[in-house]
């Protein structure tokens, strides 16, 4: 029978797919950041510097929850106002609320650590006064920051993929049992 729980799982399947997409996007973005064009001559070229800077800023501004400075945002050629982080978080929060309502405690339990991590890392662990340092174009290229970001993205993706199958299984299970 089609219960609320089953509906939740079906919806979360779809949303989970979009989360996976976000995670993949993150990974590619960081990859792009890391793998600067290896054309050495280009590296020394001031024009390239500008392009590169814009690129970094664009990616950072896409990744962050807050608006990049408006002046820079004007320069962003692609999707200047799209922020990927906020949708990602809100979708995830939505999951948790839905499962909470559906009284799927196990699923809620699985998702809570990530929920906690997201809020903690983004909203309470910002070192600057301005609370927007995480993807700071000025420091994101430091090797360890970048590596951390990449690792984080990979972990998230694997988490979402796993949960995708878990939701699939749960959906079928609820449909079958009820």
């Amino acid at each position: 029978m089609f219960t609320f729980a089953a509906f939740c799982y079906m919806l979360s399947l779809v949303l989970c797919a979009s989360l996976i997409f976000f995670a993949i996007w993150h990974i590619t973005a960081f990859d792009e950041l890391q793998a600067d064009f290896k054309v050495p001559i280009d590296q020394g070229n001031p024009l390239h510097a500008r392009e590169r800077l814009r690129n970094i800023e664009r990616i950072c501004c896409l990744l962050r929850k807050q608006n990049w400075h408006s002046a820079v945002a004007k320069n962003c050629p692609v999707l200047p106002q799209l922020k990927l982080v906020l949708p990602e978080y809100s979708i995830h929060v939505l999951f948790c609320i839905m499962f909470l309502c559906a009284q799927e405690w196990l699923t809620v339990g699985l998702n809570i650590p990530l929920l906690f991590y997201n809020t903690w890392s983004r909203y309470f662990h910002s070192p600057t006064d301005t609370k927007e340092l995480l993807y700071d174009p000025a420091s994101v290229m430091n090797g360890d920051t970048l590596k951390f970001c990449q690792k984080e993205a990979w972990c998230k993706m694997s988490f979402f993929v796993l949960s995708f199958f878990y939701y699939l299984y749960c959906m079928i299970y609820t449909l079958v049992t009820s």
């Binding site: 001559i41 020394g44 070229n45 800077l53 820079v72 070192p127 340092l133 000025a138 430091n142 970048l146």
Partner: protein
């Protein structure tokens, strides 16, 4: 004989180490006298030292020294021990094998020469050497010592030796000669006669030169290994007293000439033909041929080539002083294209033959023999030994004793070292240091741990050949001079791994290379450098990624010697610091002109402080010194609550002011006439500068619209890029980027957290990034007495690769010290070299990776820094990690390449390469720790930490760094007594430096510190070069009222006394004395109450202590010897510094004395430990 010599290798070793330690120059000779060198065993330090050294290196050695190999094993451990103690170890080895028989006879036969020499010790060796010559048959073995001897002589300053010796030996004292001499002689007994006839006169000269100068050339000439005597002796006519040149030019009758002419006997067809043409300016290098032979023989060991390193200087014509004028000169002299017309010898042999001018017939046998072992050994060899094998076989009977002599030259590359060594009467202490670094010390008992002189950085444990060409520690330093093999080992040592760079430093000598193709590795794009290996003549192996690359045809031509077939002798391969003139491939847009924009605060506050007068006057004085060419452009913007532009278009009768009051949306009133050509509008600019201070004298505007002014500057500079200099005197209060006061004065001395270290707004950072993208660098001068939120403002410089200057409570009348400092800083700032649109890439050996950068820049890629402007006074730090094990390599290399546009509009690449050994033992890692570099890197890390986390976290982390490291050492050394606080000698200053760091303005708590001063101190830590930081952290304290001539340096015509360094504690102060404290950017002269009246009268110019004014800012120029001596000492301290420090005379009873006493870091303060307490604290932490 041989047995005897062999029997006591240890004793020989002893000699060496002792001698080097004891008497620098002279020491070398001692061993010679003793022959086998048994004399000193008693003095020799406990053999236990040796035990620590892994014997790993030894076996390889045996390979080289083929004949007596059997014996070696016995002494194996000894040798390796020796190796560790003093880097010269390797050179020792050669002595043993085979050559000994020869050696002995000679050692006894000293007779002939002694009379020639002044110094008794030298006489012996001379005689010793003299003999071999007479006996051609011995040629091979003896040649080496002979050469060494000459090199020795100059060092020891008895130059006259050379002349007499000459006729006999034919190898003059010039170090260069020694290099080649051996080689040749070893290969053939021939060739000497002709040469000797040619050269007699030069020797003395060259020897003199070498000695006196030693400058800048990292590479030292004398190679024990290669001693092609005749070649190198050149009368160095051209004023450059480059040791190198001498070597090479030897053959030349005509100094400027082509050496080929000089070497008639052997030169083969092609070479001779080529010889003549040449720009007179170009210094001629020695005939490459010699090297070749050697080189190729060595195969893998191409670095042996570095013997030629002397080159450094030899490419004289190419050298440029920092002065940019020379660019053109550099261009002509070394362009590789010139030679392309001449035929390339097609066969290897022919090349070689050609090269060996003097060798009528190079005996194939010898080189061949040598070759296999080198090539074979290379990969496995212990790092230190790697290169050394080359010299070894040749170097004959040098028993311990000789090595030092061979060594000496090496220790001389840096002038300062040179001077120091003379002062110390030692070999710049290097070997001693190596030996000492692991000695455990109980810090709780060791009171005097400061070195008597400013400590020189530890020398990497490399073979002398490599060491010679290695990058100067002033430019490039690594925290660990022995790179651990794996990350695990690094973690065990608990020391940070990182580099400290000063890439754009003012250099006195720099080879500049113009060439159509800049040779780089095809996969990792590394520039060719002295540490690559030439597999054969046409291929080289990258030392960073190990890819095998082809040598382009063009590279086969050596512009310095104007000959073909010797890629290993090109200046790129001879110098670890070179500069290329980049071709048009390296630019997409034409190089930008030098553009300077000055953005000046003219609000009431600013006018009140009077900085405008100082600035305008300084700029007027330095207008002609601004680096640039005919395209140089200049502009001015002033601002208070509005923004004023100045139209300086040529043809106007006077400057025209344009006011823009719309600060919400700033626009540029007119585009073409605000930044004007300096040359064309110079008169207008001068008018403006003269008028500026008066223009705003009546202003009542107190607001400051800095943000909009910066936006305007950005828009103005956008099309070109360039440098923006911003002068600000208060908190920005209007428009974008306005700031509020965040400082709570009551919390200044809080012992808890310090807030507001991070920027309040991102406006300045974003602006800086925009600027960086447009190649605009922003330098900030903050002159304010009030809180101005430097933490936010500094971002504008930080990310645009600018610099920050801060003058707290500046006033042109009331604060003379600050005014003088501003004047001097401006003087330097305006006239210093500048590079535009720069990028710096740091590459390192595969397996190492960079993970964090410190400094002012924008990180554009994981290994690429974008520097809108680069200036010679900024330093960078880099943290690294070891990602893959380095077990399969013995050397780790780092290359920093800085591509920039000079102020003359040339695209240039400055490349620095540093090479360090890789080790597998924890003890070696400790032994190679460079404590100063570690301190600087830790300071940078702590500052990052205090901004991103909290100050107390950062402080804890610093203390933990010491605790962890000393614990690691204790855990490692099992046989160390548990009581006390034990540290290896290399790290003995670690706790002291960390304590000093904790007491810095940037990191201290509990002492009242203004937020701006704290932040400025942090900025300095992040952007200053190492020496400057170290003086800040641990100032040098000297007592100067009783300086004597003892141990004084004699420079030119002045006597510079050398008072010992004192510990920074009030214990060392006495009321009867006067003490000078050198803190880098400020100097204090503390005069005690009962200070000797004569000092006050003769030096200070006042009758007694009471009449000394409370604020003196300079020492008067009096004609007394006392005064002259004092001033000589102070100016000696200042001579290498680019920014003049502020100078304060502090009376004992003046209120200002607290600023002096706060630097006495070993003393207890209300809120901080004394040094001893800190040690106890560390010990307590360790026992937890």
């Amino acid at each position: 004989m041989s047995t005897q010599g062999y029997g006591n290798p240890q004793s020989a070793v002893n000699n060496y180490s002792m001698s080097s330690a004891q008497n620098g120059g002279g020491a070398a000779t001692v061993p010679c006298q003793n022959g086998p060198g048994q004399a000193y065993p008693a003095m020799y330090p406990p053999s236990s030292y040796y035990s620590s050294a892994p014997p790993a290196g030894y076996p390889t050695m045996t390979g080289h020294s083929a004949p007596p190999a059997g014996k070696i094993p016995v002494s194996g451990t000894d040798y390796s021990g020796n190796y560790y103690q003093n880097s010269s170890g390797p050179s020792l080895y050669p002595a043993a094998p085979g050559s000994q028989t020869a050696a002995h006879p000679y050692s006894t036969s000293n007779a002939p020469v002694p009379s020639l020499q002044q110094a008794a010790p030298y006489a012996m060796p001379a005689g010793y050497y003299g003999q071999p010559y007479s006996q051609p048959s011995h040629g091979q073995t003896h040649a080496q010592p002979q050469q060494m001897q000459p090199s020795l002589v100059p060092a020891s300053s008895s130059n006259n030796l050379g002349a007499p010796l000459y006729p006999i030996v034919s190898y003059p004292s010039a170090p260069g000669s020694s290099q080649y001499g051996t080689l040749r002689s070893s290969q053939t007994g021939i060739g000497q006669p002709p040469v000797s006839t040619v050269m007699p006169p030069p020797p003395t000269q060259s020897s003199l030169q070498q000695y006196s100068q030693g400058k800048g050339a990292t590479p030292t000439p004398a190679h024990p290994g290669y001693g092609a005597p005749p070649l190198s002796q050149t009368p160095t006519v051209n004023g450059q007293s480059n040791a190198v040149q001498q070597h090479y030019d030897q053959n030349l009758v005509n100094p400027m000439g082509h050496h080929y002419s000089g070497a008639p006997p052997t030169s083969t067809g092609p070479n001779t033909e080529r010889t003549p043409s040449g720009t007179p300016g170009a210094s001629v290098h020695s005939s490459p041929g010699h090297h070749q032979g050697l080189l190729y023989a060595d195969r893998g060991v191409n670095n042996a080539v570095s013997s030629a390193a002397g080159d450094h200087s030899s490419s004289s014509s190419d050298h440029e002083e920092e002065d940019e004028e020379d660019e053109e000169a550099g261009g002509d002299s070394s362009s590789t294209t010139t030679g392309s017309a001449s035929p390339v010898p097609n066969s290897y042999e022919s090349l070689e033959g050609g090269g060996y001018q003097d060798l009528a017939a190079p005996p194939a046998g010898v080189p061949n023999k040598q070759a296999p072992p080198f090539g074979y050994n290379y990969p496995t060899m212990h790092p230190g030994y790697q290169q050394s094998p080359a010299p070894r076989p040749d170097s004959s009977p040098a028993h311990g004793g000789y090595n030092p002599s061979g060594y000496q030259p090496y220790s001389q590359p840096f002038p300062s070292l040179n001077e120091l060594s003379s002062a110390l009467g030692g070999l710049s202490g290097v070997p001693e240091l190596e030996m000492e670094t692991l000695r455990p010390l109980n810090l709780l008992q060791e009171r005097n741990i400061l070195p008597p002189k400013q400590a020189s950085p530890p020398e990497p444990n490399l073979s002398s050949d490599l060491r010679k060409v290695n990058c100067s520690p002033d430019t490039f330093r690594c925290t660990l001079t022995n790179i651990p093999q794996t990350q695990a080992l690094l973690n065990k040592a608990r020391l940070p791994l990182g580099l400290l760079l000063h890439p754009f430093r003012d250099l006195t000598q720099l080879p500049v290379i113009t060439s159509n193709t800049i040779v780089r590795c095809r996969s990792c794009r590394t520039y060719i450098n002295p540490f690559v290996s030439f597999l054969d003549q046409r291929r080289w192996k990258c030392n960073l990624c190990y890819r095998v690359n082809d040598v382009p045809d063009e590279f086969m031509y050596n512009p310095v010697t104007r000959s073909y077939g010797e890629p290993h002798k090109r200046p790129e391969v001879q110098n670890s610091t070179v500069e290329f003139i980049a071709s048009s491939d390296y630019m997409l847009r034409p190089p930008q002109p030098a553009v300077y924009l000055f953005v000046l605060d003219v609000s009431h506050n600013a006018v009140e402080s009077g900085y405008l007068n100082v600035f305008c006057q300084s700029l007027l004085d330095n207008l002609d010194k601004l680096p640039g060419d005919t395209r140089t452009r200049i502009g001015f913007v002033t601002f208070d609550s509005t923004i004023h532009f100045y139209n300086l278009q040529e043809g106007l009768s006077q400057p025209q002011m344009l006011v823009v009051s719309d600060i919400e949306d700033v626009f540029i009133p007119t585009h073409d006439s605000l930044l004007v050509n300096l040359k064309e509008s110079k008169e207008l600019v001068k008018d403006l500068l003269n008028a500026l201070p008066g223009m705003f004298s009546q202003t009542r505007e107190t607001q400051s619209a800095l943000g909009p002014a910066l936006q305007a500057a950005y828009k103005l500079m956008c099309p070109t890029g360039g440098r923006v200099s911003v002068f600000q005197t208060q908190l920005p209060t209007l428009g974008a980027g306005l700031l509020q006061s965040r400082e709570d004065p009551n919390l200044r001395s809080s012992t808890k957290t310090v807030q507001h270290l991070a920027p309040a707004t991102d406006f300045y950072k974003k602006l800086a990034l925009d600027c960086s993208g447009q190649q605009i660098g922003v330098d900030l001068f903050l002159l304010s007495s009030q809180y101005s939120d430097l933490a936010s403002l500094a971002c504008v410089s930080k990310y645009s690769a600018g610099s920050v200057f801060y003058y707290p409570s500046f006033h042109h009348i009331h604060n003379t010290a600050q005014r003088q400092k501003l004047q001097r800083d401006l003087q330097r700032y305006l006239s210093r070299k500048i590079g535009f649109e720069a990028v710096m890439r740091i590459r390192c050996t595969k397996g190492l990776s960079i993970h964090t950068f410190h400094g002012n820049f924008f990180v554009r890629s994981t290994d690429l820094l974008s520097l809108a402007n680069v200036n010679p006074d900024s330093g960078f730090a880099v943290q690294m990690s070891i990602e893959e094990s380095l077990a399969d390599t013995s050397l780790a290399c780092f290359q920093a390449a800085l591509l920039y546009t000079s102020s003359k509009g040339k695209r240039r690449i400055r490349v620095h390469t540093l090479c360090l050994p890789v080790v597998s033992q924890l003890s070696e890692v400790f032994a190679g720790a460079d404590i100063q570099a570690i301190t600087c890197l830790l300071a940078n890390m702590a500052i990052d930490r205090s901004v991103s986390s909290s100050l107390s976290d950062a402080r804890d982390a610093l203390v933990n760094a010491v605790v962890d490291c000393l614990s690691a050492y204790r855990a490692n050394g099992s046989n160390i007594q548990p009581s006390g606080l034990i540290a290896p000698a290399a790290l003995r200053l670690f706790p002291l430096y960390v304590l000093a760091l904790l007491k810095q303005k940037a990191l201290r708590t509990g002492t009242s510190t203004r937020l701006d001063e704290r932040v400025f101190s942090m900025c300095e830590f992040k952007s200053q070069p190492l020496h400057q930081i170290m003086r800040m952290v641990h100032p040098d304290l000297y007592r100067i009222d009783n300086m004597t001539e003892q141990g004084a340096l004699h420079l030119n015509d002045s006597v510079v006394p050398q008072p010992p360094l004192l510990q920074l504690t009030a214990e060392k102060l006495t009321r009867e004395g006067a003490f000078l404290m050198d803190c880098g950017s400020v100097m204090y002269l503390w005069v005690g109450k009962c200070c000797n009246e004569m000092f006050i009268r003769d030096v200070m110019g006042f009758p007694n202590y009471a009449s000394l004014p409370s604020s003196m800012t300079e020492i008067p120029e009096l004609q007394t010897t006392y005064s002259e001596r004092t001033r000589a000492f102070i100016s000696w301290l200042l001579e290498s510094r680019t920014f003049h420090p502020a100078f304060h005379v502090v009376k004992d009873d003046a209120p200002a004395k607290s600023s002096f006493f706060q630097h006495l870091v070993e003393d207890r303060t209300e809120s901080a430990f004394s040094y001893y307490e800190f040690l106890l604290h560390v010990q307590q932490q360790m026992s937890k």
